[in-house]
């Protein structure tokens, strides 16, 4: 019979050759689009991003800017509580006012979204990029590289960040506060995700398919990128989504320490912190920013879950 002639290649088998090769991201996106829950998440995020961007327009309509005070809207004899029901909701103040100074809650939520979302998103991104990069590198290469990075993480984690930030203030008083916030927050937060990633990388690097990639001459950078990282994607997604509330909270904390945005610039984190003590007497003030934050985190989680499923070729099925 055949004497090792060229192997027969069936022409019919080529019929799919014309179809463009789908990259894993593209096919993930295709799978993502099919999930209504992901679209809900995306919708919520877009909504908040849009309202934040349109804040100047919307407040022009509502009539109150974020730093305008309205002492007539509050009752000084009640410790500055908003006059009227539901935290002072009225035609003048659509979502009521803040106690004490009578800032318009609607305007502050919109402008607060600008700061909070910008800071939280950028910091989350920066943290993830730095943390994942260093974590993966430390875990994959091990040895001296790991020692150096890990000790650096140890130092950053146990860094006296609080006093550092107080000290920082006197050095960089006039720095761009938003940039400062993002940098400072990222500086002390990245080791968290980095260590988690490092731990998982240590597990992953012993997988045979990583060895296979190495054996096929793939460079370390590419191995990290194509063999290790995709397996870490769900960890990263979970981290990013849940980092958001933490970051919005730390923005408030840093602002409280004086390192953040200068008052009276509003942010959700500050509003939540300020309002927490009013939870009983002015629940509206507390509920509004919390709800906004909750919705954003929920949206991210929904999106993240859907993305996780979409990126997992097994779709999470056994």
């Amino acid at each position: 019979m055949t004497t090792t002639a060229p192997l027969p290649v069936e022409p019919a088998a080529d019929r799919q050759g014309a179809q463009a090769p789908a990259s894993p991201w593209r096919s993930a996106w295709r799978r993502l689009r099919r999930r209504p829950i992901a679209l809900v998440g995306l919708g919520i995020i877009l909504f908040f991003v849009l309202t934040a961007l349109l804040a100047p327009v919307l407040t022009a309509i509502s009539g109150f800017g974020p730093t305008d005070t309205d002492k007539h809207a509050i009752d000084p004899y009640l410790g500055g509580l908003p006059r009227g029901t539901l935290g002072g909701v009225s035609a003048r103040h659509w979502l009521g006012v803040e106690p004490m100074l009578g800032h318009d809650v609607f305007a502050r939520l919109l402008y607060g979204a600008q700061i909070s979302l910008l800071v939280a998103f950028s910091a989350a991104l920066l943290i993830t990029v730095v943390g994942v990069t260093l974590g993966v590198v430390a875990g994959y290469f091990g040895g001296r590289i790991d020692s150096v990075i890990s000790r650096f993480m140890d130092v950053m984690m146990s860094f006296p960040s609080l006093i550092f930030m107080i000290a920082l203030l006197s050095v960089v008083k006039n720095a761009n506060r938003v940039v400062l916030l993002i940098v400072v927050m990222s500086l002390f937060t990245w080791p968290y995700i980095a260590r988690v990633i490092r731990g998982q990388t240590i597990s992953l690097k012993h997988r045979e398919y990583v060895e296979a990639a190495r054996a096929s001459g793939t460079g370390s950078a590419r191995i990290l990128l194509t063999e290790i990282l995709p397996n870490l994607s769900s960890t990263v997604i979970v981290y990013i989504t849940l980092a958001i509330p933490g970051l919005i909270g730390s923005e408030a904390g840093l602002t409280y320490l004086g390192v953040g945005v200068r008052p009276p610039t509003p942010s959700w984190g500050q509003m939540i912190t300020d309002s927490a003590v009013y939870y009983k007497v002015d629940p509206m003030f507390f509920a509004l920013p919390c709800t906004c934050l909750f919705l954003v985190v929920l949206a991210f989680t929904l999106l993240g879950d859907a993305l996780r499923d979409a990126l997992d070729p097994k779709g999470g099925l056994g």
Binding site: T67, L78, G79, M100, K173, Y256, R262, P263, P264
Partner: protein, 555 residues
């Protein structure tokens, strides 16, 4: 009490200040345990070093007695002094440059040993020691002590040219200059007895040896202090301290918000509890909107003046017209809201608090409470600054809203204020540094005892200004005639004449407008439903007087 705080231009009609005659709960019964909920450790209980409220009040009323002391009563009566360890209010001689006090008979420490005059001298000497800083420095200012005297810890005692102790019961102070109100000065804890044998250096604060009605049972710093009765204290010798509870427990581990919530909830042991440091403004609505809780609120003028400080030494605030413009522009009503509204503050109309102006407040400029923008703009024009200017304000982080209120007011006359909110621990360092000081800052001052001498010189004497670490005169206000007038008043031996002179000087400084008086803070304190005899003492920044507090009933 209501009598003095009613006539500020802000109306207190809603009766936020302590109800009734100012005493909550009537007369206490003897016995039981009083709980004091605090958010921090005492910074000092060492009488030599105890100079902040409410520690001074606490120490003086429970642990140590002084030569004289203030009456335990609300309102003006509380401003009167009575003999405590001493038999009288002191005998001045040599034109009030020498003061003689005699001790009562049978005074004893917690271990039963006798209290002698030399122990008081010893404590006064301690206030010179750099190892034991932080206490009232009146002894150092007034006493005729040798320059460079560094306290008794290394064995050096003061000679008779400063303090004489002719016998165990007599003590004679020799002063550098006449001090008419020295009888008030000796109410300070510097003039309590400390036995040499119990000296423990910086560690004395952990167990001050009691001469008062209570003694320390246990003191776990930052956690809990337990006081029990000092059985060697003789009530008959003490005209003010009633010492109703058997035991006082100070819990120092809670946060202020937690304390407020617990006292509002008023459950279990918390019924027998009072709060040690102020109710935070954000909790005020919680209290005021609930009549039951509100009836347990002690809130009185603390006689501390909050001021908008301007740096008079630098442009632009070296311009008196601009400073005046600021004075007219500030919406004090809005500022008052930012510190909690009338419940927490009265609007200040001059520097001297009512306590120092005979109980009634003085309104120097008669500006409407929400400011006079026309006048302010006119003054801006006169200052040549109608185009406006930019400046910064330094506040500690907790005072963010106050800064925002100032910012909003000044914006209306084109002064753009940038807010620097900094950690409380660094705020003073920044404001006190010539180079770092911002144009504006919010500062405050409280008198130590009812005398202008403990107030205006600290705020406006140009000779105490230092380049860094500047603690008094933060507006860096320099006026030689003001300095001279202060020196003159200090020598007056007639208290009444001195008070009038301080008032006049106050007006003079107001015209120069180095700072804008904003509010006279109140001290809002919540007590449990089983607390009796709680009132705000006018001398100790309206803290609750620990001399007479107790429980309504004992289980």
């Amino acid at each position: 009490s209501s009598s003095k705080s009613n006539d500020t231009s802000a109306d207190n009609g809603k009766g936020i200040t302590t109800a009734g005659d100012g005493i909550i709960g009537g007369t206490p019964v003897r016995g039981g345990t009083l709980h004091i909920l605090s958010n921090q450790d005492f910074s000092q209980l060492d009488p030599t070093r105890n100079w902040v409220e409410p520690e001074m009040d606490f120490g003086l009323r429970t642990l140590y007695r002084t030569l004289t002391t203030f009456k335990a009563a609300p309102g003006a009566t509380g401003l009167e002094i009575v003999p405590d360890l001493a038999t009288d209010l002191g005998t001045p001689s040599d034109g009030a440059k020498t003061w003689t006090f005699h001790l009562k008979d049978g005074l004893k420490y917690e271990d039963g040993s006798p209290i002698v005059a030399d122990d008081i001298k010893y404590n006064v000497e301690r206030s010179f020691s750099s190892e034991l800083p932080g206490g009232p420095d009146y002894a150092k200012q007034y006493l005729n002590a040798p320059a460079g005297y560094a306290g008794p810890l290394k064995g050096q005692r003061l000679g008779p040219e400063a303090i004489e102790v002719p016998d165990a019961k007599t003590i004679i102070f020799h002063l550098k200059r006449a001090v008419a109100e020295f009888g008030y000065t000796v109410t300070l804890p510097t003039f309590a007895p400390v036995p040499i044998a119990k000296e423990a250096g910086a560690g004395y604060s952990n167990h001050p040896f009691s001469s008062g009605p209570y003694k320390i049972d246990t003191y776990d710093r930052g956690k809990q202090l337990v006081l029990v009765r000092n059985t060697n204290w003789d009530p008959a010798s003490d005209p003010v301290r009633k010492a109703y509870p058997d035991k006082i427990v100070v819990d120092q581990t809670l946060g202020s918000a937690g304390i407020a919530d617990r006292l509002i909830a008023d459950q279990g042991d918390d019924k027998d509890a009072i709060m040690y440091s102020d109710l935070t403004p954000a909790k005020v609505p919680d209290v005021i909107t609930n009549p039951d809780v509100k009836s347990r609120l002690v809130s009185d003028n603390s006689n501390c003046t909050a001021m908008l400080n301007m740096d008079n030494s630098k442009a632009p605030f070296d311009n008196q017209k601009l400073r005046l413009a600021v004075e007219y522009a500030i919406d004090k009503e809005a500022f008052q809201s930012s510190v909690g509204g009338p419940a927490l503050a009265d609007i200040a109309t001059t520097y001297l608090p009512p306590e120092l102006t005979g109980g009634t407040s003085v309104d120097h400029f008669k500006i409407p409470v929400s400011g006079d923008l026309d006048k302010a703009k006119q003054l801006m024009a006169e200052a040549g600054l109608s185009g406006g200017l930019n400046t910064e304000i330094t506040v500690s982080t907790g005072a963010k809203q106050q800064a925002e209120a100032i910012q909003a007011s000044l914006k209306k006359i084109n002064i753009n204020v940038t807010i620097d909110a900094v950690d409380p621990s660094v705020a003073n360092s920044i404001i006190g540094d010539k180079n770092k000081q911002t144009g504006l800052a919010i500062v405050g001052w409280c008198p130590d005892y009812p005398s202008g001498a403990t107030f205006l010189p600290m705020l406006f004497d140009s000779r105490i200004i230092t380049d860094t670490g500047n603690q008094g005169n933060k507006s860096r206000f320099k006026d030689a005639s003001v300095d001279a007038e202060m020196d003159r008043i200090a020598t007056l031996s007639d208290v009444k004449a001195a008070n009038d002179a301080w008032l006049a000087l106050d007006s003079k400084i107001m015209d120069a407008a180095p700072a804008v008086p904003l509010t006279w803070q109140k001290k809002p304190l919540l007590v449990g439903s089983n607390i009796a005899g709680a009132f705000a003492h006018p001398v100790w920044s309206a803290e609750i007087d620990y001399a007479t507090i107790g429980l309504k009933s004992v289980k």
